[in-house]
Symmetry: C2
Subunit: 132 residues, 2 copies
DNA sequence: GATATATACGACATTTTTAATCGTATATAT
DNA sequence: ATATATACGATTAAAAATGTCGTATATATC
């Protein structure tokens, strides 16, 4: 439990790779996939999603690829996680109220407190710190 | 991602319930299961595990049940989570070195930093705070 | 203009993890 | 003896994560 997904892991690897060479250089999904031994198609989808989210920029055609677009020190880890994986909650009932324990639950408030702590922690870390 | 398991959820519900009435009172798995609408057998196993871990005490036979044994303000959330679910790492390679990216990985160190932050956060919260 | 290479993306299949159930044994109050 | 509770390994079911496939589109190069 409390694991991050491969998708996020791959996204971080890609960002860190792009961060490590000139910012205007284009890097293809294939390049990163073979270099770090990760499934190319899956990585490609993740990169496409990050492009939709404005984190990176995509250039099509041969000699195309991706490059970093956003200021990574302006994106919190919380926002990054939520862009890729949706709302961040240790339990589903943190957001939706369709929990099993309709009215009987006795830990909703305490769990929310823990969750707020966690969200807060990730809100205070930037993507820059992780990928630099 | 970053979700806690039902097992942990059920454990917290049970602890909070026991916390809310006299500490020497015995509560059966069935009682808690029906009260909060959770699978009895699954809850029972979780309670048994907590008993093995010394968090609660089990009394067999009719009129038996469980009651809190440990000082909940001496158990960190990190320890509690790890007792129930094993080592706490956002990625498997935090502990074991059998990661896919044998030598090529570029985010190991950064991820460990995030992970340490998270572990630290849970190490600073006690079970008491959550269940009181 | 044909070709090769890259992104774009929905649909499907596989694998892994989590959740729940089953069956049986043991303890003990009544 | 009986009923009720814990104890626990084994199995099944459900859900989520991971990976693959097929096809479309853009564009640099020849
Ligand atoms: S478990 Fe969902 S509200 Fe408590
Ligand atoms: S992903 Fe495991 S070491 Fe980087």
């Amino acid at each position: 439990m409390l694991k991050i997904t491969r998708k996020v892991e791959y996204a971080l690897i890609a960002l860190r790779h792009m961060q490590s060479n000139p910012l205007d250089k284009l890097t293809s999904a294939k390049e990163i996939a073979t270099l770090y031994g990760i499934p190319q198609q899956l990585l490609a989808k993740t990169l496409q999603q990050m492009a939709r989210d404005g984190i990176i920029e995509a250039v099509q055609g041969p000699a195309g690829g991706y490059r970093i677009l956003a200021k990574l020190d302006r994106i919190s880890l919380k926002d990054f996680f939520e862009k890729l994986e949706g709302p961040l909650g240790m339990m589903d009932c943190y957001f939706d109220s369709d929990c099993i324990q309709i009215g009987a639950c006795n830990i909703r408030i305490p769990i929310q407190r823990i969750n707020d702590n966690m969200r807060n922690m990730f809100a205070q870390m930037t993507l820059q710190e992780v990928t630099q």
